[in-house]
Amino acid sequence: MKKSGAEILIECLKKEGVKHIFGYPGGVVLNIFDALYDDKDIQLILTRHEQGAVHAADGYARASGKVGVALVTSGPGATNTVTGIANASMDSIPLVVFSGQVPTLLIGNDAFQEADIVGITRPCTKHNYLVKDVKDLARVVREAFHIAFTGRPGPVLIDLPKDVTAGSAEFIWPEEVRIRGYNPTYHGNKYMINQAAQMIAHSKKPVIMAGGGVVSSEASKELKELAELARIPVTMTLMGLGGFPGTHKLSLGMLGMHGTYYANTAVQNSDLLIGIGVRFDDRVTGRTNAFAPGAKIIQIDIDPTSIRKNVRVDLPVVGDVKNVLKDLLKAVKELKEQQWDAVRNAWLKQIDGWKRERPLSYQFVKNVIKPEFVVEKIYEATKGEAIICTEVGQNQMWSAQFYKYDYPRRWLSSGGLGTMGYGFPAAIGAQFACPDRIVFDIAGDGSIQMNIQELATAVINKLPVKVAILNNGYLGMVRQWQELFFKERYSHTELESGNPDFVKVAEAYGAVGLRATKPEEVEPVIKESLKIKNKPVFLDFVVDWKEKVYPMVPAGASIDEMIFEEEEKKEKKLKAVK
């Protein structure tokens, strides 16, 4: 029996196990929305903006480990997804985005609501498709999910002309996917892995640098086992937080521009750096020719293009992180008896010294709420078990520094693209994926206004998402750079005079708004928000506008050239760095 294109699409989604789609309707996708109208198995969540839909699908994917799905109309609906798609691409998040397209006969005619979305998204998707014949639909959907989820994950877009979803064909589900140009390497080369084990055995001062690849390949257990067995301290990139327990004795926290003193110092003094699922982003390495100068570098990654792209690599291992770590563990165990504790004792002691010398800290001032204090209180109140989403800027860095992530998939942050407006819709997606977990978006007063309309989505779906606004009345991170490098000329970063009353905004949407203006109000407000189970909550924390994120490595400097709060106070003059 023949089915319509729209029905075939729904059948395909069911075969792929899709339960939630984040979307927004429009003219050319009416057939699909109509087919979804009576469907019992798939829930479509109407967001208030297509960017919100894609970020929500992204948050859903990060929190659940499944593919996130979004559905939008042609033209502006499709172009509104571009930021969300580019965001997922930079962070290797598996998404399938369906966009409507004008009928095939009108493509290229500048028809109403036509945009060449396949052309526009070509550089920011892992792959994309324009389906020209309804007979290809099932195969394309099958391939798209396969490509999005396997190898180095990423977003895939499928453009669906109206006549394709309106047309009809037999529904034939391809049981197998065969794409001759797509064969990711899943298992690492045995010789390389044995070499890596040897290097670990001969190293006196090794450091593991764990990234998003550990999370996406579900390799936390293997990583922990390796670190504990060979007694190797672990630092994480922003994307890697939670891939190794933040409270573990071997954890060095985050490294890089706003990394901990001890993580950056350990990397710079190491003799072996093991990069696992990382791409050596410039925010991590600082000046690359001064990065880990004394270290041999092992890099484990499923994507060959990540290897030797930014830094020299002495030993590359291409493969899925989980598989490679399993094999590496075996190889390390097979080495002749090692007294790991004795070998590593001096190195770990030295690191403990650095930890004591300069722990992460901030100065508490009476009657002023420090943003770091808010993050700490959220950590305490949620016992470190919440899913934390962030926006981008200071809020993101403080959330990375002062919340300790012990589990993967509880830290959702826009790492590569740095998208303001990501956190709130991502939190909505995460709450759909994990309905029983506490979900916080730690935001700034600037970022939250970039997708604040999603309050309606959260209210109508009774989601208890909490948005902690670290309200400093500024685009804080940009202001910080202006203060340090642009002679305190705060060009267009002041927001307070135009900010709305966030409590009233929440209430206007039917959500709950709470506010704290003094340190002693912070904890009660957080506890109050945790009692609310069927509505989103805005927590407006009026924080110290002068607070800056420290330590800090100026752009273009080596990662051991860090600025600390107390130094900055002593000598206000800082050399402007390009």
């Binding site: 550089p123 324009l130 490509i147 001759r180 140009g181 060959p304 293009t305």
Partner: protein, 163 residues
């Protein structure tokens, strides 16, 4: 270093823009490009000449391999191969030079493919060097225009450099 890279791709619409977009988006340079179907009409071969140090070319070949529609990438730098390019040149020599031009074409194994009252159009095939040499030689006689195909290359049987 100049590299000639051969890319076996799916013969589908949009593939050329994926490949060229990769070059432009990452700031790599394309010096010449030629595309054509292979023995299997479902695939095409693109031959691209590009310039870059070893790290850049390594990235280029890896990035190309990462494209879903790319089936195989060969950097001819590592492979013994034959390469050819063709040029069509329209020359308008003075009457007294016409014989000389014909002779030169003959020396370069060129063929006259069109001849008009004032011009000859000739076809020259060969390695890039030979074509450049011919163009230089014929220049004084008055070139109206020329069109080059860009390089194509094919591996020699069973021989790898350094083995």
């Amino acid at each position: 270093m100049r590299h000639t890279i051969s890319i076996l791709v799916e013969n589908k619409f949009g593939v050329l823009s994926r490949v060229s977009g990769l070059f432009s988006g990452r700031g790599y340079n394309i010096e010449s490009l030629s595309v054509g179907e292979t023995i299997d009409p479902a695939t095409s071969i693109m031959t691209i000449v590009t310039t870059g140090d070893d790290l850049v070319v390594e990235q280029i070949t890896k990035q190309l391999n990462k494209l879903i529609d790319v089936i195989k990438v060969v950097d001819f730098m590592e492979v013994d191969h034959v390469e050819r390019e063709m040029v069509l040149i329209k020359v308008s020599p003075r009457k007294e030079d016409r014989t000389e031009v014909l002779k030169l074409a003959e020396i370069f194994r060129g063929r006259i493919v069109d001849s008009g009252p004032t011009t000859y159009t000739m076809e020259i095939t060969g390695e890039e060097k030979k074509i450049n040499a011919f163009i230089e030689l014929i220049k004084p006689f008055g070139i109206k225009e020329f069109v080059r195909t860009g390089k194509v290359a094919i591996a020699r049987e069973g021989l790898k450099k350094g083995k």
